[in-house]
Symmetry: C2
Subunit: 123 residues, 2 copies
DNA sequence: ACTATTGTATTAAGGCCTTAATACAATAGT
DNA sequence: ACTATTGTATTAAGGCCTTAATACAATAGT
């Protein structure tokens, strides 16, 4: 999985989001070990300090647990991961719908459009 | 309409997006006059330089036309506005679906979820 | 003809982000 | 017991963004 960081937003925020996605999708399973700050920073081509910043935030949120000298692991609290995942999903959907509404698309139009595109994307 | 700027992304980019939305939704109709840089900057509570930067970009994209001493107007090219609007809508949808997929939601699940939320939001 | 208004340009300062270079404490693993 | 590895902290530099203060050219409106 590439990291695909963009320059229009702070990198550390994008790192937080990317790691969250990996946790939610199961790419980083509950209880599994994360690479060390230095390693994962190199993977993402960012400075260790920047990665450290992202990881600290994830720990604050409870998704990641830090073991002082043996690295970090993903939380084993599956329910908690599920809750966070659903919360983010709802936020995504609301933000998406609101943006479409701001652009002038009614809810029905939005739904029709997304249906059409999903069909096209299947091909 | 409030401007609602956040601090996690450059303001000038958020200004560009907000003005685009207003054009697409018809709040700023084709051919209509925009407030002066100074005025609209004050509306949005940003520095005139920052607003100027956003407006320059919008002009570059062709959505806004600058009249050296009489201010700026929205383009009268309705087709062009429509094209830009649809392009943005498609981008939004794709980005949304991809993010949901990255989180582990299948397309069908995403569709079901959004359907459910739209129903709830009607109430 | 005058004047206010328009967009535009410049310079300086401060803030946050990012990188880079180092260093240190704690301990897992041998 | 030693050593490599871990997270953590600090300092300095540079970059982009934003604000602030000014100034100027062009012209619409009177």
């Amino acid at each position: 999985m590439p990291w695909d960081l963009k320059s229009d937003r702070p990198i550390y925020i994008q790192l937080i989001e990317e790691i969250q996605l990996r946790i939610f999708s199961g790419e980083y399973p509950p209880g599994s070990k994360l690479p060390s700050v230095r390693d994962i920073a190199q993977e993402a081509s960012v400075n260790p300090n920047t990665m450290q910043r992202a990881l600290s935030k994830l720990e604050e949120d409870g998704l990641v647990i830090t073991h002082r000298t043996s690295g970090r692991t993903i939380t084993e609290d599956v329910e908690m991961i599920k809750r966070a995942k659903n919360k983010l999903a709802v936020q995504q959907i609301i933000a998406f719908i609101e943006k479409m509404q701001q652009m002038g698309f009614e809810k029905k139009e939005t739904l029709a459009l997304i249906n059409k595109m999903l069909e096209e994307m299947e091909i």
